[in-house]
Structure formats: structure tokens, C-alpha cells
């Protein structure tokens, strides 16, 4: 066998689940309403907290529901998030076109002994403050940070980009490897060799 034949045989061992088609059909039916009910981890990709805890206020029942100002693809949006004790959350908001949208997610952290535990509400909120690097289909690259949307497409030199960002209170030094992750520090630009 050639390398190509071996490779194809090796990777033909993995298949998407048989239920997938049905699930997408359901999603197709609801996509116009953007109701994504799956417990997927998408919130950190497209959502950033505006102003962190200073703009987060509780409108909650029992202390687990919060109404928060979020930046979703450059649009400031008020979202209601239910935090569950299992580390998951459900969020509702209206997008820029006024359509109701729902998203869910969750996460785990690892204890020192390797066991998993659900993320706390505080940890989830902290993570929403992180900058987000997005690679768009048109080839452009953007950093979303609080209310800022920064085009860094042309700032890569040898696949490395250094960017200083600030939320008005804290400055972050970001080192971004093209298509290969990023790291940030409040003190200095992380060395590209120090991550990934």
C-alpha cells in the first residue's frame, strides 16, 4: 500500500454518528430562529463581556440567573444567562436583527488529582473577559476584546503577530501565531515558543 492508501484506511476508521443527519435537519428547521439548544461550547467564541463585573447585575431568581451586557460580533447585547450547578449555562438574547437566539454551553476544570469539576459561575464570567481571535472565511483575522474589534490581518510577520490591547483599566500584550493559538500577558509579549 502507498502512504496515501494507508492514511485513508487509517482515518476511515472514524465516522460521524448515524444520528447526525436527523440532528442537522432539526437544526435546519430552527436555524432561522437561531435557536441552538445543544449544550455546545460556543459562547466563548463569539461573546465577550462588556465591562466585566461592573456591568453585570443580577436580575435573578435564586441567584443563578443574570442579565449581562455582552458584545456579540460587535453588537452590544443584553443577554440573560442561567448558570447551573453542573457547570453549564443557558443564554437568551436578541441578535442585531431582533431575532430571539438561545445558546448553551458549559465547561469543566481539572483538579490537581486529575479529576474534573464543573466550572463555577465566577470562572465562566472570568473567561468571558478574555480576548477572542477569529479567523473569518474571507481570510481576515480579528481580535474581539470588550467593545473593540481589531483587524490584524496584515499585522502578521512570519506568521506571528504582536498586539497590545487595553480595556481602559488593564493592558494586555498578545502574541498570536497564525492559525495556531495565542497567548497574552499583562507584563510583556509572551514568546511564541512558550505556547502550543
Amino acid at each position: 500500500m502507498t502512504n496515501r492508501e494507508k492514511y485513508k484506511q487509517a482515518f476511515s476508521a472514524i465516522h460521524i454518528s448515524d444520528e447526525f443527519s436527523l440532528e442537522v435537519r432539526k437544526m435546519t428547521n430552527t436555524s432561522k430562529k437561531q435557536k441552538f439548544n445543544r449544550m455546545v461550547a460556543v459562547i466563548a467564541v463569539c461573546v465577550l463581556l462588556a465591562g466585566g463585573s461592573t456591568v453585570a447585575y443580577a436580575a435573578d431568581l435564586g441567584g443563578i440567573q443574570r442579565t449581562i451586557q455582552l458584545w456579540i460580533h460587535g453588537n452590544q447585547t443584553e443577554a440573560t444567562i442561567d448558570f447551573n450547578t453542573d457547570g453549564s449555562y443557558e443564554m437568551e438574547y436578541f441578535d442585531s436583527e431582533g431575532n430571539a437566539a438561545q445558546q448553551g454551553g458549559g465547561g469543566v476544570a481539572f483538579n490537581a488529582d486529575g479529576s474534573e469539576r464543573p466550572l463555577t459561575e465566577e470562572e465562566l464570567l472570568d473567561l468571558l473577559d478574555d480576548p477572542d481571535v477569529r479567523y473569518e472565511d474571507d481570510g481576515s483575522v480579528w481580535i474581539y476584546y470588550f467593545d473593540q474589534k481589531i483587524d490584524i490581518t496584515d499585522k502578521f510577520d512570519d506568521n506571528i503577530c504582536y498586539v497590545q490591547i487595553s480595556n481602559g483599566e488593564e493592558t494586555l500584550y498578545m502574541t498570536i501565531k497564525y492559525q495556531n493559538g495565542w497567548s497574552s500577558s499583562p507584563n510583556k509579549y509572551p514568546s511564541p515558543s512558550s505556547f502550543n
Partner: protein
């Protein structure tokens, strides 16, 4: 041109899943990526030139979504790759070699893994890979060469020198 998403799902769902798995290294995230990719196709108004253009677009979107998923701290409870591998059935008399190849590829750095996969599994040329990944042709060549060398170093006679 556009094609009905149902047609594209049947044709490409597994290819998208495999490239997403290649990046994410776990089945649950890969399946989410496949779903998100087809949802993006549905919501996109993009007009495509050919079906190959659609296929390349789907693969590019899937890779970017998988990378974004990797870059977030939010992950599902995931099955470790080693445990997942135990569930795989390699249908060949050379199953141990295929298993070793699979495991070795998945241990490569992501930038080598993706290029190797697009070349050997999707049959894309170096130029096409450069276009999909939005990197230079020379960069693709370097990644392909280094990825092959790393495979050869580990797999010895299982992976021939085909440069």
C-alpha cells in the same frame, strides 16, 4: 451556484467530521463543528463557482471552527483520545500498522497534522491547501515536508519516503 444542504450533508459530512476530529481530537467537539459548519452554509448567502469550491469552503470553515473550539477554554466532557482509539476498528489485515499510523498522526503538531490530512486524505495539491488555509505555498511545503519526516522517524518502514 448553491446545493441543497441535505445533499451536501450526505456527501461531505464524514469528510468534514474527520478533518474536524483531526483538529479537535475528540468526537463530541468534531460533531459540533460539523453541525456548525452546515449551519453556516445554510445561513450564508455566498454564491459558489463549483461544487469543488463548496467542498473547499466547507473544509476551510470546519478547520477554522475546530481551531476556534480548541482555542476556547470551554470544552465538553470529552473522551481521551487513547480511550477513543480503543473503540476504533481498523478493517484491514494491517490493522496494527494503521492504528499506529493514526496514533502517530494525531500526536503531530496541529499545523503539520492538518496539512498532512488535506494532502493524503482529501487529495488536495499543495497550491489548493495553501488556498484553503490562507497560507503561502512555501509554508505548506515546509509543513508537509516536516510532517512527513516526523512520521517517517516514528513509523520507520510503515511510512515510505515519498517526497
Amino acid at each position: 451556484m448553491r446545493q441543497p444542504v441535505e445533499v451536501l450533508i450526505e456527501k461531505y459530512k464524514n469528510n468534514i467530521y474527520v478533518i474536524a476530529f483531526n483538529v479537535c481530537k475528540n468526537a463530541q467537539d468534531a460533531e459540533d463543528v460539523v453541525q456548525d459548519t452546515f449551519i453556516q452554509y445554510i445561513s450564508s448567502k455566498k454564491d459558489f463557482e463549483t461544487e469543488q469550491h463548496i467542498r473547499a469552503w466547507l473544509i476551510r470553515v470546519a478547520i477554522n471552527k475546530a481551531k476556534n473550539k480548541n482555542n476556547t477554554f470551554f470544552r465538553r466532557n470529552t473522551l481521551p483520545l487513547e480511550d477513543y482509539m480503543e473503540t476504533l476498528i481498523f478493517e484491514s489485515s494491517e490493522s496494527s500498522e494503521l492504528s499506529e499510523l493514526f496514533e502517530t498522526v494525531m500526536k503531530l503538531s496541529e499545523k503539520y497534522r492538518v496539512v498532512i490530512h488535506l494532502f493524503y486524505y482529501e487529495d488536495y495539491s499543495v497550491n489548493e491547501i495553501a488556498d484553503i488555509l490562507k497560507i503561502s505555498v512555501s509554508n505548506v511545503k515546509v509543513r508537509l515536508s516536516r510532517g512527513r519526516r516526523l512520521l517517517r522517524e516514528t513509523l520507520k518502514e510503515v511510512w515510505e519516503n515519498d517526497e
